[in-house]
Amino acid sequence: MKVFLKALVSRVAVMLKNKLSYIVLRLALFYFVKRNSQAAKRLSEIDGKVFKVGLEDQKNHYFLLVKDNRFKVIQAVEMVDATISGKTGAFIGLIRKRYDPDELFFKRQLTIEGDIGLVTYLKNTLAHL
């Protein structure tokens, strides 16, 4: 019984943590784009594309759909156009403009797969915001 309870608590904690990071991610993306809606219009070039963002340390991932000049966090997809993976701290550092994305990539702290042209477009578009 004790083991069962411990497992249950641990599972609930993981679920809450994932839910919380999901909410934080949605809010961060919303304000990130809202801050400069003019530059966010560049996202229309990649409308409909789906990025998988992998958080290696959390063993978790999110799917981001680019739609109507903003990002939508979606649950599941049939096809991913590109995948970007790294530790949570790396992504937070990027959003807070503490890290240079190329620097992280050159040092293998970010990995990218799939359509590299698309990832480059995303990187450069976010830099305008």
Binding site: R42, D102, E103, F106, R108, T111, G117, A127, H128
Partner: protein, 334 residues
Amino acid sequence: MSRVELCAPAGNLPSLKEAINKGADAVYLGFNNDTNLRNFPGLNFTSKETAKAIMFAHRRGKKVYIAINSYPQTDQLEQSYKDIDHACSLRADALIMSDLGLLDYTSKKHPSMRLHLSVQAGASSAQSIIFYQKTFNVKRVVLPRVMSIEKIAKINEETDCEFEVFGFGLLCINYEGRCHLSSYLTGESINTYGACGSPRFVKFEENGENLKVMLGGTCLNKYPKNASIAYPTPCKGYYHNLEKEGFEYAFQNPQSLNVLEILPSLIESGADAIKIEGRQRSQVYVGKAVSSFRQAIDSHYKDSESYRVPKEGNAELESLFEGSSFTCGCYVEE
């Protein structure tokens, strides 16, 4: 003698503002098309952003140079002419150009526009520089990264043209304006399409043990786990040499240029401007690189005798470099 100008790159408006706020005297940028040599997806300035950038810089007494430095084919000429006219109407402080036809067009149609000769023109002798001065009224030449400090000083004695030298950033194989290597793998050359190793031809394949880097279907390198990597261009490929029965960097070991160590002698050679490479890099890169160079240049002018490489600034630069290590390049070893 006027102080050396610190010229910073910008691929977007936040980077331009960061460069100016951190102490750049001038910023160079390009329009978001293939008329300049950093034509990466999503990078560079729209017309409105360019106007905003120029206004921001001019209000702070800083300059903006616009690079229109590709070598257009006949069907690309109209776009180049349009961009030249537009850059002039926006009151950019100078245009950075390399193509003879475009230089001719600009010097005739916009005689008051200041012209800088791009590094892509590869002018590396006094005779060549004087030709561009006399023919197109070029005011400044960006020198190719193939020359020693002694040669730069000699050119300075032989001409009265301003010149700009690279101080920091990724090196290429120093065959500027003539390199078509990437076109053999992708069908697109930097000089006509504005990017060597365009990202749409790049593939990264991670298999747990190593990272395989492909360009246009050709494997350029296999990096072991956690090894630092460089952006994939054919000149940085790690190729199999059948003669030597081993792999080697056949063209160039990927290294970044950093002149902080030799900054005083580079300035004393007569350089009018020090240029930081990297319009494709982020606001963070621009901020750190400009701060480091601003500090070093100011320290040199304060007391040249006691100049030391600023430790903190150099560490910041080290965090940004691409490839395996730093080098002073051909400035000290041709």
